[in-house]
Every structure is written in C-alpha cells, then in structure tokens.
Symmetry: C2
Subunit: 376 residues, 2 copies
C-alpha cells in the first residue's frame, strides 16, 4: 500500500503537511527519517527509535548488500523482522554510497562495477540488481538506482548523467513491475541535475513521465554550500507532482527542515542527530549544547526542561557531561535518543504550524530561539 | 535502615538465602551487584539495569572521588539521584583501586598518599576521608577503608597489613558513628589475610569484635587461581557472624556463585558480565556464546530461548553477530543487558534451590549444562 494525501497547505509558501499510508503504518509528513545505515540507528535499539517518535526509518542497500547480505535479510523475513522494527522503512538504492564510498568505480550504461570499501571485493550494481536487492530487504519505500555525481561537475557531464539516471529509472521501474511487488513496496524516482536549474527541470520532467508514486531530490548535501541546497529545492520542487511525496535526500539540520519544507519538501533523512550525539553535542530549542564545555560540569538541570525524552526525564547535564568525560558508552545512547527525539519534535512543530496556518511566524520564532537573539 | 534475615538454609552445605532491607529497598540474597564504577554500569542506563532484575548496584569511591567528585554528588542529592537509580547502592571504599590503579603509593599508619591514574594529581585517602567521601556519595552500604595487598605476599607483610586494616576499620567505624549517619548507611568491615588461613581467622576475629552490620571477604580475585578463592572462602566464612550478610568482593562467574554460596557467601559483584559483553560474548545456560564465530552468521534464533530479556525477546544471534561485525554500538548494550539479566537469573535459581532444599542437585544440574556433558 502507498497512499499519500496532503492534509493542509500553508497559504503563503509551498509548505504542506500530509499523511502517507504504507503497509507497516502511517507516516505524518513532513517527516524525519533516522538513518539505520547498517540495520541499526547508531547507538539505539529499534525500541529506542520508536520512543523517539520516529514513524519511518532509512537503511542503505549498499551497506546491507555487503554486510550481512540481502539473502540473509530475505531469509530473516526482511529487514523489518531482522532489526525488529515494525514501522515503515525506506531503503536508499545504494547509488549514493557506490559513488561516495566504493573504490575503483567503472560506470557503464549497464551499471557500475566497484570494489567494496570494507574488503576490496568486486561487486556490480545495475538498476535491476539494486531493485532486486531492495525486494529482498523488503522496505516499504525503495529508491531507483541513480548516478550521484560529485559537486561541482561540468554541465556536460551532469547532462549525460541526468539522461543515464532517467534510463536507469525506467529499468528500475520495469524490474519492479515485473516483480509483482508494487502493491507492497513503492518505488520512488530520484531527480538529479546538480546545481543546474535547467538540468534539474529536465530530470524532473523525464522522471515525471514515468509516474513514480513519489519523488526524491538527490545529489544534494554532497559538499556544496547550504544556500545552494535551498536554491536547488526552490527551482526543482515546482516540477515535482504536487500530489506525491517529495523526499530531500541526506538533509538535514533543524533549520534545513524549516527552509526546505517552506520550499515544498515532505521527507528528510540525515545522520547528523546521531553523529553529533557521538561528539557530545545535544540539540535544543536554544541551539546546540556541547557537553565538553566545563560550564556544564555542575549543571544539575536537564538538557531541555520542555523535552519529554528518556534522557531529559532522568538525567542532568552534569551527569551527561560526566559520562562524556569518563568515556562511558551510555552517553552516546542518551544523546542520540535526545537528538532524534528533538528532530521528530521539530517536524511536529512544523506540521502543527502548517495546520494552524502560522508556518511563517512559527519558522521565525523557532530560528530566533535556535540561533539566539543575535540571529547568528 | 539495615536489617538482614536468613530466610532458608541448605541442610547439607553452608548455602543460605536471606532478605536484606535497606533505605532504598529490599535485596534478596544471594545477590549479584552490577558494577557501576563511574556512576554508570557500562553501556547500560539505570532503567536498563533495573530491567535486568538487579536489586542493588555497586559504585567505586576512588573513581567517583576523582571524577566527577564527591562534592558534586552531594550537591546532586547523592549518587542515587545523580545516576537516577532508586534502589540500593553499595560503594567500595576505594581501598582496592588505590592499591591496583593509583601510582606512587605511600602507605603510612595514617593512610595512603598516591597519584591519580587519570592525571597524576596528588591525593590522600585515610579511613576518615574514605568514610566521609562515602557519606557524600550516600550509598546504602559503605565499606571500611582497607589495605588490599597483592597476591602473593609474604606472611610477615600480610600479618602487618591485617593488623593495620583492623586499626583502620576501627577508625572508619568511629568516623561513621560520629557522623550520625548510621541509621541511613551501613558500614561493612573487610576481612583480609591473603591466602593464610590463620591470618584470615585473625582478621575475621579482629573485625568481629567491632560488630559491623555486615562483613566482606576482600583481597580475593587479585590474580590467584580460582581454587584458591574457594579455599579462602571455605576457611574464612565460618569466622564471620552467621546472622550478618557476607559479601565476597570482586567475584565472579556463574560457577563462582554456586561454589561460594555453597561455602556461605551472600553478596557478589564483578565487572565480568558487562566486560565480556563488550568482547562479543553472551552467557547462557549452555555456556558462553562468542558471537564472532561464523557459525552464528545465519542463526535466526535468540541467544537463549528461555531468556526474557529485551535482547532475547527482540533480536536473533544473526542480528547480534551482524552488529558486532559492523561495530555497531547497540550490540554492546544488548549483550551487557542480556549478561546481567543472566547473572540475576542465576542468583534466582540459587535462591529457589535453597528454599526448596535442593541446592546440591541444582548446582550439579546447572554446572553440567553450563560446561557441557564432558563436565569441562
């Protein structure tokens, strides 16, 4: 099942809130998907992720193919059963990882040959194999296999790549239709085109003809300035079907969510919340808290008095800082839990603001508090 | 409050089961205390430790004094509040750590000067200061400051040390009585004497005269053979008051519990369950499972079909092994949780066997299954 309905729209911007119904449950959009790269959201159990309010999580076909292998996942009854996550899952096709992690890549019309970043073993990925792997993994939403090019790239190369990505998308769709799994897994197309507006438009139109049930903007968050991401979203989103979910891959921070929802996006994912947690940083309404800072050594208040997560209910900044200084593993879990909870709270703030038609005001209020009175 | 009552005794051995009532709750003995060295049981939250069935945990005065400092703990409302653990706590006095971790020790009649193992800063610990630090930390049971000597040591040195430990114990008791905290915190004495039966007897008798509410056997598990620990317990326990709790410090494994309960001990602590968890080993009724072993790669059953812990309820060996191979932090928590749960289950088996007067039989059955049919 894949049903998407826009529930409310902001009157002044492209922001919207919706409901996405999938086999494993409903997802309120805008949504933020925690990243469970290797069948685990780092430092958290599936029960923890559930407690953070996450309604869908993301996993990576490339990583899972290498380890533990898609065959095992199929035998386990799919990734849901393997990692004991009963809500929806989205898998990235592996395109991004093949182009960012793997060694000795050779791209042809057929697909990509590369070596595993783990052990140098030789692998091949094609639109058909990426689709089949995702069938074995069994996520509710699967992604077309695309070429994710570096930033910056020449216009000529980007155009060639956009065309190839469209041809690959068509092959993914054909493989998916043939599998008979369309009713259980929805295949989304990925728009590429780097930072060339006319190529983003071209890519969106090429993929639009294929009538995917959802669309992603890919090839962003690959090292370009933040403003450039917002620009790409601004000129690409209008070419994506208005009645289908729009997923911005690999983005982002709390401010990115407000900015990109404003420009019409519905779905997000990023490793940031759990990654900065492992560096001892907590996200709060008043910005980040770096627990290394000695000022927290005697601070017997919670990270955020308004937060209801397990970390804030039970532990103080002084305790968390002590754990971080003493290199106790527990702090990695508690901060990851808090940060993920915070990001789902941000999506809830955004959804409520849209429903109540005060998105602009809510965005200003959030960013002012988040960046401080100086607005920096 | 400190009340101890023996509930049942095995008719053929010195095994007994009892109930220990403390300000923060009741502890059924034999009990196994998870070790929260630095105000954290490694990889677990206090909620996790609670879910393992632990009724009392141990923390270390030496570590807490260095970091985060006993003053902060006092200001936080004690260690219970600081680490959000509402059940009983026992703190070791620091004796063992001063003699095993600290640098440049100088022992005098007054106490010990040493350098912190963390940063080389100079510290001093006396019976009075160790007692006062434990008042600030606020555990339900606190330990006398003893000299924990290496194994092996000469008879002459051990005798001098036993006498000094007795004089120090008397000073701890005087400091504790003066504090007016006797009704809230119980001070236990620690019997030393290395592996000399007549010095263990001497130490037990010296401390017995001081009428502590509980007694520990210290200076074991310091590198001597396992059989030697059992021997020390065998000839020392009879000199400890029969109506008071007997705590065997730093011990041990599942088989150690059966052997030392049989010889009359009630309380145990060890880092083993969480330490081996971090090396990828799970404890089960049928012995240890080393998840590194390739045989578990496709094993879609839980660690132990009879275990009700979160790890066994939700995850398979194949998933746990994948997490371990992929270096995912989650596996450290799940295995720590399982191993601690297992150890509290072992104490429950022992308690039930004593109540039902089948301790010997239950011990044989457990060890046969644990070590396999070969009995090795």
């Amino acid at each position: 099942m894949h049903e998407f309905k826009v529930v409310a729209r902001d009157l002044k911007t492209s922001a919207r809130t919706g409901l996405l119904k999938l086999d494993h449950g409903e997802v309120r959009t805008p949504c933020y998907m925690p990243v469970g790269t290797q069948a685990s959201v780092k430092a958290l159990s599936s029960e923890d992720v559930m407690a953070c309010g996450s309604e869908i999580l993301l996993a990576n076909t490339y990583h899972l193919m290498l380890r533990p292998g898609a065959e095992l996942l199929a035998r386990a009854g799919g990734l849901h059963a393997f990692m004991h996550w009963e809500k929806p899952i989205l898998t990235d096709s592996g395109g991004f990882q093949v182009f960012s992690l793997a060694d000795l890549r050779q791209i042809s019309e057929d697909g990509v040959r590369f070596q595993s970043h783990l052990d140098g073993s030789p692998w091949e990925m094609t639109p058909e194999s990426a689709t089949m792997l995702q069938h074995q993994i069994g996520a509710d939403i699967i992604m077309a296999f695309d070429e994710c090019i570096p930033y910056p790239s020449t216009e000529k190369y980007v155009e060639e790549s956009v065309d190839r990505t469209a041809r690959w998308a068509e092959r993914c769709l054909a493989a998916h239709r043939k599998s008979g799994r369309e009713s259980r897994q929805a295949l989304y197309g990925i728009v590429q085109g780097s930072n060339f507006p006319h190529l983003r438009e071209k890519s969106a139109k090429q993929l639009g003809l294929l009538e995917f049930p959802g669309y992603a903007i890919g090839g962003v968050s690959v090292g370009e300035p933040k403003e450039s991401i917002y620009e790409v979203v601004k000129y690409t989103a209008p070419y994506l079907p208005a009645d289908k979910p729009r997923y911005l891959m690999g983005v982002g921070t709390p401010e990115d969510l407000w900015e990109c929802v404003e420009r019409g996006m519905d779905m997000f994912d990023c490793v940031m919340p759990t990654r900065i947690a492992r560096n001892g940083t907590a996200l709060t309404r008043r910005g980040g808290i770096a627990l290394k800072n000695a000022r927290y050594a005697g601070d017997l208040t919670s990270l955020d008095p308004d937060c209801s997560c397990e970390c804030c209910r039970n532990y103080t900044k002084a305790y968390l800082r002590h754990l971080f200084q003493a290199e106790e593993l527990l702090v990695l879990r508690l901060l990851s839990l808090h940060n993920l909870h915070f990001m789902t709270e941000v999506t809830a703030l955004i959804r409520n603001a849209i429903v109540e038609n005060r998105f602009g005001e809510a965005k200003r209020g959030f960013l002012e508090e988040y960046f401080g009175p100086a607005g920096a």
